[in-house]
């Protein structure tokens, strides 16, 4: 789908052309973004408003239940999932900058609580729902995109993040070798199987450094927390940044 912004230097207003009206979006920020990566949430709001969405933030929200579910606590996860459904029940569309939380709701809520909120991963919402590929961003840095496992294989958002990144002004997008192999995070895996997790991280870090990129980006801060933690520990001279933050830069 061709973006209504294509060919312009900056987006000019609400995306009423594509949908005929302002889209009301409820943001699900995800608990660890809320606490540790608030800049990603601010960036997501900025970009969504820039393309003409009206953004709300249901303040009762906490956690989707992913950690509990994946660690083997489905009862606790189901309680959190029921709560999540209640908190988001007024929302027409839910958008989240966490691919793994979106994946949990889409993939596991049917079995867990028999219902799925109308949730979209942030990049996929822009590209696949709004049809926007150019959000008017400028980011003069070299960037390698890591497709996280949940965005790639559970949500199947395909190249939505890359489509958005390709339209960022002054960005140098670099190829990441073995991009679709897992970085080794895996939630509690990173702690329970720390040695194996680290072995996987080492390979991911090596590919990032070989790419020559200054910034490694992805649609999920949980993987980036792991990759970024490794880059920082090794004083590698590269850093991580959520896609939303690159798209918000101007």
């Amino acid at each position: 789908m061709r973006s209504p912004w294509s060919g312009r230097t900056a987006p000019a207003g609400p995306d009423r052309l594509a949908l005929g009206r302002t889209v009301r979006v409820a943001l699900f920020i995800a608990c660890f973004n809320d606490t540790f990566f608030p800049a990603t949430g601010r960036a997501a709001v900025e970009v969504l408003e820039r393309v003409g969405c009206s953004v709300s933030f249901p303040e009762q929200q906490t956690c989707c239940g992913q950690l509990h579910l994946n660690t083997g606590y489905p009862e606790e996860a189901a309680r959190l999932a029921h709560r999540q459904l209640r908190v988001l029940e007024q929302a027409e569309v839910v958008v989240t900058p966490s691919a793994s939380c979106a994946g949990t709701m889409r993939e596991h809520y049917p079995r867990l609580v028999g219902e799925v909120p109308p949730v979209h991963e942030f990049c996929s919402f822009l590209v696949d729902v709004l049809g926007v590929e150019d959000v008017g961003a400028r980011f003069p840095h070299s960037v390698a995109y890591h497709p996280t496992c949940h965005s790639l294989r559970a949500l199947r958002i395909g190249d939505a993040p890359l489509r958005l990144l390709r339209n960022v002004r002054d960005i140098e997008l670099l190829e990441l070798a073995e991009a679709d192999s897992c970085c080794g995070f895996g939630g509690s895996f990173a702690v329970k199987n720390a040695d194996t997790s680290t072995a996987m991280l080492t390979d991911k870090v090596r590919h990032i450094l070989n790419s020559g990129a200054e910034v490694c980006t992805a649609a999920d801060n949980s993987c980036l927390m792991h990759i970024g933690g490794g880059l920082a520990r090794q004083r590698a001279g590269a850093r991580t940044m959520h896609v939303a933050e690159i798209l918000a830069a101007a």
Binding site: V45, V55, F185
Partner: protein, 456 residues
């Protein structure tokens, strides 16, 4: 030993890491090339899953059909509840057949039940004839891959092993020289030994036909030359109709070795006068399988056709190898099959040995939803009280905090206290994080704090 502990040791084995990286990337590339040639691959996968499910959900009837058709074609069917029963049956049959020796086709199930050790205890020498299984047996070693059991060995090690155990001298490390040495040793066994033992890739209920798939032809030697053939098969290996093999064999060859068709596919139905073995015994093994079948989520694992595609794409397996799983079945399939076959009493750390990256599901020829089953089994491990100590109380407390906005926001403030700790050293259990990764800092303002100040 937990997977994490076993893996930590394996990860330091640089020879193993090199072998695994080379071997798995080669097989991965071969598989994707031949799978891409099949235009209806996704439909074929669905059909494979449907065939296996149709047999599994009707297993009692299908097994009786198989027994009838095997008996009608001159074979004898034996039923074994567990490993001990199966081993006793096979040892008894091999003893009755005489000679005190048996030659074996590569088989996972006989490894699962420890048949070689049981036969040895009964005074019967069992010779592995698959080249890689022979390498494993001569080295008093364990297989580390379903399809490539000696993937952890390199050619120099194999040369040394053959010189030490087969009386060979001056061998080179060329594959042709090594296989020639193995052939010299194995030919004598094929011609002398009167009992053959195999597993089964498939058994057809309607005809009683058993199918074994292999690459070397040594399997066919074992199923045709001896006067007595004993096949041990897990009861999940059954397919209803002969025509089902068309689908299953297409899926298997491309998924496992990355070939369009495997070199040797042996099919036999009972015994044939004047051709092949004069006696054929089929041992049907349960060994935990009916318990797996009772788990509505976990039962999908019984669809497995042992192709090992999931091992070759697994980022965990690629780095740890098979021994770290401490089970006959390693890799993603092992992580869901081994604990279930053991009634969730052993191998309980294996469901955690995955990042849930989903690569295994994408390649599985019978569409086993391995990531979902891993999550399900993690729940069973917790529910049956086998989670690591302290984890349950911590997770339940966190669950309660997240159930209310007020306690959640208090916890967010507490997270900033964590900023006072150094980024590089945390206490247990989070010390495992900071062993290789810096910790992120919690900024002074949460996202919701910013929202209240700027948007609400």
């Amino acid at each position: 030993m937990s997977f994490a502990t076993a893996a930590a040791a394996a990860l330091r084995d640089t020879q193993l890491r090199h072998n695994l990286t080379n071997a798995t990337s080669t097989i991965r590339a071969r598989r994707s090339a031949v799978v891409a040639e099949v235009p209806d691959w996704e439909a074929l996968r669905s059909e494979g899953a449907r065939i296996k499910d149709s047999a599994l959900l009707d297993l009692d009837r299908q097994l009786q059909r198989l027994e009838q058709s095997v008996s009608a074609s001159g074979g004898i069917v034996h039923w074994a509840r567990d490993a001990a029963e199966a081993n006793a049956i096979v040892a008894g049959l091999a003893s009755d057949a005489g000679g005190g020796e048996a030659i074996k086709v590569k088989s996972m199930v006989t490894d699962e039940i420890g048949l070689n050790e049981a036969l040895e205890a009964a005074g019967i020498a069992a010779y592995e004839t698959d080249l890689a299984e022979l390498i494993v047996q001569l080295g008093d070693d364990r297989p580390s891959h379903i399809l490539v059991p000696a993937i952890h060995r390199n050619r120099a090690e194999i040369r040394d092993l053959f010189e030490a155990k087969l009386g060979e001298r001056g061998l080179s490390t060329e594959p042709s020289a090594l296989t020639a040495a193995a052939r010299r040793y194995l030919r004598a066994r094929f011609l002398e030994v009167g009992v053959g033992i195999s597993g089964a890739n498939f058994a057809v209920a309607e005809t009683g036909t058993v199918c074994v798939v292999e690459s070397e032809g040594n399997g066919r030697m074992c199923t045709t030359l001896p006067h007595t053939l004993i096949t041990v098969m897990g009861i999940e290996k059954i397919v209803p109709r002969l025509s089902d093999l068309g689908t299953m064999l297409r899926l298997l060859a491309r998924s496992s070795t990355g070939e369009r068709m495997n070199p040797y596919t042996s099919l036999w139905t009972g015994v044939s006068e004047g051709d092949g073995p004069r006696a054929f015994h089929l041992v049907l093994l349960d060994n935990g399988r009916t318990e797996v079948l009772a788990d509505e989520v976990g039962r999908q694992a019984l669809r497995c056709i042992r192709c090992s595609a999931c091992l070759n794409v697994c980022p965990v397996y690629e780095r740890t190898g098979g021994h770290a799983y401490e089970s006959t079945y390693p890799g993603p399939i092992g992580a869901i099959l081994a604990p279930q076959l053991a009634g969730m009493r052993e191998h309980t750390s294996l469901p955690g040995a995955s990042t849930l990256c989903g690569a295994c599901y994408e390649v599985c020829p019978v569409k086993i939803e391995i990531p979902s089953i891993l999550v399900h089994l993690r729940g069973r491990v917790v529910a049956e009280g086998r989670a690591p100590r302290g984890e349950g109380p911590a997770m339940r407390a966190l669950g309660r905090i997240l159930l209310s906005r007020r306690s959640y926001e208090m916890a967010q403030r507490a997270a900033r206290i964590g900023n006072l700790t150094p980024t590089q050293r945390l206490v247990k259990p989070l010390a495992a994080w900071t062993a290789s990764r810096d910790l992120p800092r919690a900024p002074q303002q949460t996202f919701r704090g910013w929202w209240r100040a700027n948007r609400a």
